[in-house]
């Protein structure tokens, strides 16, 4: 029987190797898989390339992973967050490299990576400094730049409910990058607040079909970044 449930967070992230590329879901705190990120900190993998829309807040979750010195490179659209100095400090002191990608190009590059599309053209960044190094081409009288698909070794994703096949549904705007990242990683690891019986998720409403998911671990009451920060928590 197919059953993608894994008992512990530690087991779920055990094989993330040094140097791996890891996509991490979330837009700000919404959808951030804090418990999986903390398990990755405990696991010790370093020299990571992380793909996330932001750079974390406070000193928990993604910001804690950065602060622990585990991330060599961040691929990101908006690495500036109120109330966190972790990324700015690393960036200014040259201890992390940044690939800045517009949010829509980031989402589409991840989708392309998961869809077997090596490259596509987009109007975004034409005529701006972020066009630098990209091929420009005209279609129908308008200029576009070539962007490449993005894949990863692992994706860490938070969802609301999963079943044993790895079918997922999300909560509100916590969906954000999760569904595309699930398609683009060789191994997709999901934390779900609830794991239900096969057939309990409406097949018309499944957002991520199980084919894109490798491991599901139950995290019944996931933390919210803002609440941890409000309580003054840091990790580890």
């Amino acid at each position: 029987m197919i059953d993608k449930e894994i008992s512990t967070l530690g087991q779920a992230v055990a094989d993330v190797a040094d140097g791996a590329t890891v996509m991490i879901g979330g837009f700000g705190e919404a959808g951030s898989p804090i418990e999986l990120i903390h398990a990755l900190i405990d696991q010790g993998a370093t020299d990571l390339t992380v793909v996330n829309n932001n750079a974390g807040s406070g000193e928990v979750g993604l910001a804690a992973l950065l602060k622990a010195g585990r991330v060599a490179k961040l691929i990101c659209s908006f690495p500036r967050t109120a109330g966190s100095s972790v990324f700015p400090d690393l960036y200014r002191s040259g201890r992390i490299s940044l690939e800045l990608v517009p949010q829509g190009s980031l989402a589409e590059r991840i989708r392309a990576g998961g869809a077997g599309i090596p490259a596509f053209y987009t109007p975004t960044t034409v005529g701006t400094p972020l066009e630098e190094g990209k091929e420009r081409r005209t279609f129908g009288g308008r200029d576009y730049v070539l962007e490449h698909g993005l894949t990863a070794d692992f994706a860490l994703i938070k969802c609301l409910r999963a079943d044993r096949y790895g079918n997922l549904v999300y909560n509100k705007t916590a969906r954000n990058f999760g569904p595309v990242m699930a398609t683009a990683a060789a191994t997709t690891i999901v934390q779900a607040a609830d794991i239900v019986e096969a057939g309990e998720l409406d097949p018309e409403a499944v957002v991520t079909p199980g084919i894109f998911v490798d491991r599901v671990v139950k995290v019944e009451n996931p933390a919210h970044e803002s609440e941890l920060i409000a309580r003054g928590e840091t990790y580890p």
Binding site: F78, G104, A107, I110, R111, T122
Partner: protein, 220 residues
Amino acid sequence: MTSTDRSIGWSREEMAERAALDIPGGSYVNLGIGIPEKVAKCVPTDREVVYHTENGLLGMGPSPTSEHGDPELINAGKRQVTAIPGAAYFHHADSFVMIRGGHIDICILGAMQVSRTGDLANWSTGDPDAVPAVGGAMDLVAGVRTVYVITQHCTKDGRPKLVEACSYPLTGRAVVKRIYTDLAVIDIGTGGFQLVELAPGIGFEYVRERTDANLVPMGG
């Protein structure tokens, strides 16, 4: 440099109110962080407008009351919002299908500089020590049909934001259609900045002195 007295001209709320008048009923609208966010409250109540936020929600409603917030229901500025009846959630790639594909009718953004040809700079001062962050701004200006800007006419230290050519790194080229400032409503016209409307008590010369490129008078 000519200083601007912020006690005259339109207030931030009035700028939002003026911009709101230009949003037709039935529009799909994306509002940037800051003054643009205020526009939603100002749209005349007989016009139904649907708000999009690029982090995956169409049919965004106002801020929640304190006891009904959900940290996983936020806008692009990462503030808690609500969803109207008839809303839909979607993932980030689908959200930017709406933006890049030209499905959003209007977006209203803040600006550091706007050039007379409609170039927009609103993401970076180019300071090498600053952390660069672009978010969805470049996708919005590249994809949304009509891009409006709401901004103070001058910076806090009195430098014009409406310029011949942007000195800051661009967000997009020839993308802005209309600018709402504390002093005036100004279109990007064929002859440059085209004055559309003056704030009460503001004269043409006052605006022209604070604009760093040709300003075409109304009817000009």
